[in-house]
């Protein structure tokens, strides 16, 4: 069946300048946006089960390698340092300053994070919101800050999340969901959250 979504998606794959139409009219999820980028072959390579916010700013895509289960919020990724152009003119030089960005399996990049060229991230790592990553992020690290530094280890974040989830009244509904299915029981979960957060049944 031909839908607006399928037509605009095909156009976005055929002509990158038209991706804004797909984004604006179809508002694709991060999973769908990532699949479109993968099909278009923007990146050096890209694994499976990825999600990329459609407003993430990703430059120099040919120099970016993305593993499996990489999730990006609205972040910024660069494969070059533009200051080299100023340096070249100022000092009469002919220098290059381009590098690869290697994002391994199971990496989350938070909102507003900036990834500079010549870095490897992960596997099994989190770049916290607002971080500026200018050197490698070790396997299993959670980094934060400017410049990004180790804040904890992912294993500890997972343990804390598990402990926190034990206390959630809607935990049984979350556990019934399939992976990446955020629609199942959504209204019931929202109702329980509101009651838990504010102590009252919210009236719509």
């Amino acid at each position: 069946m031909i839908t607006l979504d399928s037509v605009l998606r095909k156009l976005a794959i055929r002509e990158p300048r038209l991706e804004a139409l797909y984004s604006y009219f179809c508002r694709p999820s991060g999973r769908k946006w990532a699949e479109m980028l993968r099909e278009r072959g923007d990146f050096h390579s890209m694994g499976e089960h990825c999600s990329i916010d459609r407003y993430a700013y990703i430059d120099d895509r040919a120099y970016i390698r993305i593993g499996n289960n990489v999730r990006m919020a609205r972040c910024y990724i660069f494969g070059h340092d533009g200051s080299v152009n100023m340096i070249n003119r100022a000092f009469g030089l002919r220098l290059d300053n381009v590098g690869k960005v290697d994002i391994c399996d199971n990496v989350y990049i938070g909102f507003g994070a900036i990834i500079l060229p010549d870095v490897k991230i992960g596997p099994n790592a989190i770049v916290s919101a607002g971080s500026v990553v200018r050197s490698d992020v070790a396997e299993g690290d959670v980094v934060a800050g400017v410049p990004a530094k180790r804040a904890t280890r992912l294993e500890f974040s997972v343990a804390m999340l598990k402990a926190k989830n034990q206390r959630l009244p809607w935990r049984h509904l979350i556990e019934q969901r399939a992976l990446d299915d955020y629609g199942a029981s959504a209204s019931e979960i929202e109702r329980m959250r509101l009651k838990y957060f504010f102590g009252l049944e919210e009236e719509k």
Partner: protein, 84 residues
């Protein structure tokens, strides 16, 4: 290692705000008593106590999720460990 056990118990209360009664095997992180972001500060404290740097790859729940695990792990540093 008795000194480390005592120092840890003191720090968990005074620096990390763990107010519950602690057994040696009480799960600190997986039990939800400590925030995951505290682990790096905890490791720094232990490094100060034993006078050795702990490699990042060794910062695991297996080594740091309870007082007994921490004491057992740091005993590996043996003669190099200099408990303050």
């Amino acid at each position: 290692m008795e000194e480390l056990n005592k120092a840890l118990r003191g720090a968990l209360v005074s620096r990390f705000g763990v107010l519950q009664a602690l057994e040696d095997d009480t799960a600190l992180f997986s039990g939800g008593l400590m925030d995951s972001l505290s682990v790096i500060e905890l490791v720094s404290f232990i490094e100060e106590q034993i006078g050795c740097a702990i490699p990042p790859a060794e910062i695991t729940l297996q080594n740091f999720d309870s007082i007994s695990r921490i004491v057992r792990f740091t005993s590996r540093f043996g003669a190099n460990a200099n408990v303050k």
